[in-house]
């Protein structure tokens, strides 16, 4: 599905550059359900942006399917995002002046699908996330859980092969979080690869595999636990 080999990313901060990602190497197979964990400042947001083709990297290779994603033009990047990737954000990022249905239909607008057709498809996806009756409501009239469901429907409507979720439960209570994770699991069960960036071990535990980041490097489970003396002590 996707593969990163020796990906490096620097940020220019004033006169010196910050090495945010250091030789990041990992692979995600088709249909996997993976969590990327790390403390804040570990580089996981940057990694997510690179995976989502929202940001460039400085060296290494990022393969999405059988294409190397590197220094794409903005239009090309937009087209890849539109066709391959669905985004789910912590703060939902629904457009406040559009109804649930119109929000879900938006990616199809950028594919040039006719209004009738895309509203028809959007209704199907809303039904799939259990919000058929909320189609004509504005985001401001919905709960956090409902908004995230709308966002997930919107991420799915372009038939992506990859869902990138950035702290999808960060703004939700534990019960709603559980429901959203159930939904993401269901989606994964249909064969779509799901990648979740989170710092919540509960969320990570619902996935099949966890990739840990520390100081811009992928670390294995043992190294990661070394940063938590309590847990380290428990390991012989």
């Amino acid at each position: 599905m996707l593969r990163l080999s020796k990906v490096n990313k620097y940020y220019q901060v004033g006169t010196h550059s910050l090495h945010v990602l250091r030789d990041v190497d990992f692979e995600v197979a088709d249909g996997e359900f993976v969590a990327i964990m790390g403390a804040s400042g570990s580089g996981k947001s940057t990694l997510l942006n690179i995976l989502g083709i929202l940001d460039d990297y400085d060296s290494g290779e990022y393969w999405l399917g059988d294409t190397v994603i590197n220094k794409l033009s903005e239009s090309k990047a937009a087209s890849y995002r539109n066709r391959f990737i669905g985004f789910v954000f912590q703060s939902f990022n629904l457009l406040p002046f559009k109804t649930a249905l119109e929000n879900v239909a938006l990616p199809l607008y950028y594919q040039g699908v006719t209004r009738r057709k895309r509203n028809q498809i959007a209704a199907q996806y809303l039904e799939r996330v259990g919000l058929r009756d909320w189609a004509d409501h504005l985001p401001s009239e919905m709960s956090g859980g409902q908004k995230q469901r709308v966002a997930i429907a919107r991420a799915l409507i372009g038939k992506p092969r990859l869902i990138l979720a950035d702290e999808p439960t960060g703004a939700l209570d534990s019960e709603t979080s559980k429901q959203i994770m159930d939904l993401l699991s269901e989606i994964n069960a249909t064969g779509i690869t799901v990648l979740i960036v989170t710092h919540d071990p509960e969320v990570a535990s619902r996935t099949q595999r966890t990739i840990r980041l520390r100081d811009g490097k992928v670390v294995n489970a043992l190294e990661a636990s070394a940063s938590h003396p309590g847990i380290a002590a428990a390991v012989p």
Binding site: D55, E74, S75, R81, R83, L94, F97, P107, R115
Partner: protein, 456 residues
């Protein structure tokens, strides 16, 4: 030295100004071309119901701001249309005022010398004669030629005119037949004086409508005999004049008859001619030629501006045309300036709107919006806002011009803008709106989705 330095400085400043305007125009032209290209890619957005809904929602979200923008653009267009229309009204007014006399007419009046010449002292009275008329008539470049005899030596001579019991004083003009070519009179009955009238010194008279109305009170005047002074004349024609009743208080009689009846010898007070299509320079050459002939025959200095007084409508008309050209240019510059201020206002407000919508633009980009699509979205809004505001201003301007036209003022005639100008204004508005949107749209296209989505 100082003056030279100052001149150099002024020249440099002017050059810098011209270069700056040129650079601005090039930037604007490039912006327009790029927007045209983007439109070709994104034209589908123009037909999208969703997109127009979005435009309306965005515009409706900040009503005060929308209102202020609308007012500034509408005002700009209003001022432009109003001033353009007013300029045209003044131009029409000038042309109508000029139309009273031939715009290519030249009048030469005999007067007193102010330069000693040919052994004569200054202050000598010059008087033209019939032979001067004959000779000037053959001068190259002269189209129509006529002359007037001043009855009793008076330029404007009024004589008591009687018909039956009615009597009143009217201006009496003793002229050759082609005087009609220099006037804007319209013959409504009969005809003007003919060459035969002059050759045979007939007692024919052509009277203005005011004269006819007064003397005949509705009876047909042609063929009737009127008494002018103590001489009887037969009415052969009646004329009207766009200049109104004042111009119609005249009676024309043959120059030869007047010279006989009023003891005028061969004297002429004024030569009258039209010069065809001659331009100002040609006209001056023809006039110099004729004045030269007159100077030779009457022994005055041809450079003496007092001996004969020339009234040259060609030069006059040219001066007026130039003046009105300057007025219209001035008016257009002011109008465009006002409009430019409005457009900059729209641009400013769109810029703020883009800043406020950073997050929305970020979301759209994450969902697959291309930079072109974002740019076109902002431009579409700007054009729509400018277009609606402009149409309001255009309607207001046309309305006010319509009211102004009804005032019936002789200096402002038919102040309007034609269809071409209206269409031009519409195109101009779209272009202005697109330019207003261009820079904010570029800012929007540069929105970094990462940063946009990060701020909560």
């Amino acid at each position: 030295m100082a003056v030279a330095a100052l001149k150099l400085l002024a020249g440099l400043v002017a050059l810098a100004g011209v270069l700056a305007i040129l650079a601005a125009l090039i930037v604007l032209a490039i912006a327009l071309l790029r927007m045209l290209g983007i439109t070709l890619v994104q034209w589908r957005d123009l037909l999208s119901v969703d997109r127009w809904q979005e435009v309306l929602v965005t515009i409706g979200r900040n009503r005060l701001r929308t209102f202020l923008t609308t007012v500034s653009v509408a005002w700009g267009i209003f001022v432009l249309v109003f001033l353009l229309g007013l300029g045209r009204g003044l131009d029409h007014g000038m042309r109508q005022n000029f139309a009273r006399d031939a715009t290519n007419g030249v009048w030469i009046n005999a007067s007193k010398t102010s330069v000693a010449s040919g052994g004569y002292d200054v202050g000598r009275r010059i008087m033209f004669e019939n032979s001067d008329y004959q000779r000037a008539r053959k001068t190259k470049g002269v189209e129509f030629m006529s002359a007037e005899h001043f009855i009793g030596g008076q330029r404007w001579m009024s004589l008591m005119t009687k018909y039956g019991a009615k009597a009143n004083a009217f201006e009496l003009d003793a002229v050759y037949e082609e005087t009609i070519r220099l006037q804007s009179h319209v013959i409504t009955q009969g005809s003007f004086l003919s060459a035969a009238d002059i050759a045979q010194s007939r007692k024919s008279a052509v009277i203005g409508k005011t004269v006819a109305d007064f003397l005949f009170e509705g009876k047909p005047p042609i063929g009737e005999w009127i008494t002018v002074g103590s001489t009887a004349f037969q009415v052969v024609g009646v004329f009207t004049d766009p200049g109104g009743a004042e111009e119609e208080r005249r009676i024309y009689i043959p120059v030869s008859t007047a010279q006989l009846a009023f003891n005028g010898g061969e004297k002429l007070g004024q030569l009258q001619m039209t010069l065809g299509q001659a331009g100002p320079a040609e006209a001056q050459a023809i006039i110099d030629d004729i004045v030269g002939q007159l100077a030779e025959r009457h022994n005055f200095d041809p450079t003496d501006k007092q001996a004969v007084r020339v009234h040259n409508n060609i030069a006059q008309f040219e001066r007026f045309k130039q003046m009105f050209w300057m007025i219209s240019t001035f008016v257009i510059v002011i109008g465009l300036g006002t409009l430019a201020a409005g457009v900059v206002g729209v641009s400013n407000i769109m810029m703020i709107a883009v800043k406020e919508r950073t997050k929305e633009i970020g979301v759209r980009k994450a969902l697959g919006a291309t930079p072109y699509s974002i740019v076109f979205m902002i431009i579409q809004e700007a054009v729509f806002l400018t277009g609606v505001a402009g149409l309001l201003g255009l309607s207001a301007g046309v309305g006010v011009l319509e009211l102004l036209g009804r005032l019936d003022n002789e200096f402002i005639v038919n102040p309007n803008i034609d269809l071409g100008m209206g269409l031009g204004a519409a195109v101009f508005l779209v272009v202005a709106g697109a330019l207003a949107g261009y820079f904010p749209a570029r800012a929007a296209a540069r929105v970094n989705p990462i940063h946009a989505l990060r701020d909560q």
